[in-house]
């Protein structure tokens, strides 16, 4: 196990290194540059711009800038925001909480709902429910997240008045119930795609397990069907789902950005958009790196958990 783990960790570090190079190159090779905002406003003379450029180290060759940036990054200094002169890590730390809250709650919702739909679809294969679930999942994967958010707001906030139309809590009221109330809308919106994905994989994973010999044995022993499904089938069918959840992180992050925009949720997605608007390169770069780290962490944890849950996997790793 440890050999496998070390190999995967090394791979992740190498990958992260490549990721940082790509991210840095894309941002800095794009036309414009960090100072174009100031240049366009006309408030600054060319001398001012040159001085600022030298101050921020933007006048040096790109590889030098990259090495310098990477050196600081490894030392825990992610740079200082151009916008409010705060350290990038401090800003990100202030925004990551709401995003994680949203992502975790919607993943939980999607797991429960998706597993239920998937199991039912597998048990009653080719039934009307199964067909509708298949079609529903495909439509769910096709709906633009922001539009689904608008529809939810229109129906439940504008129409029925049940849910708030945005924000994380009412100003002056930060109670748990109030926060929960605000979380419902964005959580449902973000969970839509995940639920569709989960139900599809759960269904096929369950179908694979359900035809195995040991399930037939359990049936032959006369165990109740419910018991067989939960204790024998579901346990093994859930195994591949670990991987699916780990690999789902990028989709979830993209969805979170859009959901946050629609519901004015003060998370990392909103921060990213604001930073892009201000051409705040250090913050944009910091968030890009963080999302890549989260994505890699997701697949790494999935691999490790899978290895623990199914020791046979180690053989393939070598």
């Amino acid at each position: 196990m440890s050999g496998f783990l070390i190999r995967r960790l090394l791979q992740a570090v190498v990958l992260l290194f490549i990721v940082s190079m790509i991210g840095f190159a894309i941002l800095h090779l794009a036309p414009g540059g960090p100072l174009s905002q100031f240049a366009a406003s006309g408030d600054m003379t060319q001398a001012d711009l040159d001085r600022l450029s030298a101050q921020l180290g933007l006048d040096r060759p790109l590889p030098v800038q990259y090495v310098e940036w990477l050196r600081r990054l490894l030392g825990g200094d992610w740079g200082v925001s151009y916008r409010d002169q705060q350290p990038v890590l401090t800003i990100i730390a202030a925004h990551i909480g709401p995003t994680l809250e949203l992502m975790l709650s919607s993943t939980l919702l999607a797991m429960l709902l998706g597993a239920w739909i998937g199991i039912l679809g597998a048990v009653r294969r080719y039934s009307l429910f199964d067909s509708l679930a298949t079609i529903g999942a495909m439509i769910a994967l096709s709906i633009p997240t922001f539009w689904f958010g608008l529809v939810i707001i229109y129906v439940f906030s504008v129409g029925l008045g049940w849910l708030p139309a945005g924000n994380r809590f009412t100003v002056g009221d930060g109670s748990f119930l109030n926060r929960l109330h605000h979380l419902i809308g964005p959580c449902i919106v973000l969970a839509l795609v995940s639920t569709a994905v989960w139900s599809r994989y759960m269904r096929s994973s369950m179908l694979e397990v359900i035809n195995q010999d040991y399930i037939r044995t359990a049936r032959a022993k006369g165990l109740p069907e419910r018991y067989i499904l939960v204790r024998h089938a579901l346990r093994n069918a859930l195994l591949p789902m670990i991987t699916i959840t780990g690999l789902h992180v990028p989709t979830l992050l993209s969805g979170a950005l859009v959901t946050e925009t629609v519901f004015t949720w003060p998370g990392m997605g909103r921060l990213f958009l604001d930073s892009i608007n201000y051409r705040d390169y250090p913050t944009v770069m910091g968030i890009l790196m963080l999302t890549a780290i989260l994505v890699l962490l997701g697949s790494l944890i999935a691999d490790v958990l899978y290895g623990i849950a199914d020791p046979r996997i180690e053989r393939y790793g070598q």
């Binding site: 990721v19 036309p31 495909m138 504008v158 992050l253 892009i276 890699l296």
Partner: protein, 274 residues
């Protein structure tokens, strides 16, 4: 039963796509209103209320005409971005699958690294920095969506190149390029076609996301995504502004996904063997 459903859905999807394309190409010429015609007296007309079938927007422009014109843009962005990203993905996948050692590993690590960025983040980071126009948005979407294709092609080529026909071609002294494009690629065409169909769906969605967030196709050029850009502020007074373009996107993307799924079943019967 299931096969039948899928088959039906794929046909439905294909029919919808054809109808949409025809409507977007010919529709604007048949309508009494121009999509850019501003009529302030007719602002916020709800659908089915007067001469404007689907109502009007905050400037009194006919929504149906705008939807069709936007469809031209959104669909052509979808198809063009697919074409470019398939070209990149196929080339990278071919090379990586054929030359497995150093080049292949390096290319696939690059693919892995690109996939570490959640697609929206990458799209937004670049689209905000460049001058947004229809061609640049197409390139941008293609640049962020070729990786899955490359993976599919690489996997196919890697397994095909050890098969007898490929080995035979090699022993006959065929050039590498010839083996890649004439022997291996045609045999990997089925998954490529499926990937291409799903890629159009992805590209239409991607365009709508960045346009909705204000970094995609810029007004006055209409696209389904940017028609939704300001719709949220009118959600109470004029909900049709938000509902209609979103429904168009969903319909188009669903159709492509249905077709892709149906093609996968038709081209690879083994998948449904269970």
């Amino acid at each position: 039963m299931r096969r039948f459903w899928r088959h039906k859905l794929a046909v439905f999807g294909a029919a919808t796509i054809i109808v949409m394309v025809i409507a977007c190409v010919l529709g604007p010429m048949l309508l009494p209103y121009n999509d850019t015609h501003i009529d302030i007296r007719q602002r916020f007309a709800p659908p089915f209320s007067g001469s404007h079938i689907l109502g009007t927007d905050p400037l009194g422009r006919d929504i149906l005409a705008r939807l069709l014109m936007a469809g031209r843009i959104s669909l052509s962005v979808g198809f063009s971005a697919m074409a470019v990203s398939m070209a990149i993905g196929i080339c990278v996948g071919l090379i990586a699958g054929f030359y497995q050692r150093a080049i292949g590993t390096a290319l696939m690590r690059f693919v892995d690294a690109m996939l570490c960025f959640p697609s929206i983040f990458l799209l937004l980071a670049v689209s905000a920095l460049i001058e947004p126009s229809v061609p640049s948005i197409i390139l941008l979407i293609a640049m962020t969506s070729w990786m899955e294709v490359a993976r599919v092609v690489e996997g196919q080529i890697r397994s095909l190149r050890t098969r007898d026909f490929a080995v035979a071609a090699m022993s006959m002294g065929a050039s590498n390029t010839r083996i890649m494009f004439r022997e291996l690629l045609p045999n990997a065409i089925a998954p490529i076609v499926v990937a291409a169909t799903l890629n159009v769906a992805h590209a239409i969605l991607a365009e709508s996301y960045i346009s909705f967030l204000g970094y995609g196709i810029q007004p006055p050029t209409p696209s389904w995504g940017n028609m939704l850009e300001n719709a949220q502020s009118y959600l109470t007074s004029a909900p049709w502004l938000a509902i209609l373009p979103g429904a168009a996107i969903t319909l188009a993307v669903t159709s492509f996904n249905f077709v892709g799924d149906g093609l996968r079943d038709a081209l690879d019967p083994r998948l449904d063997a269970r």
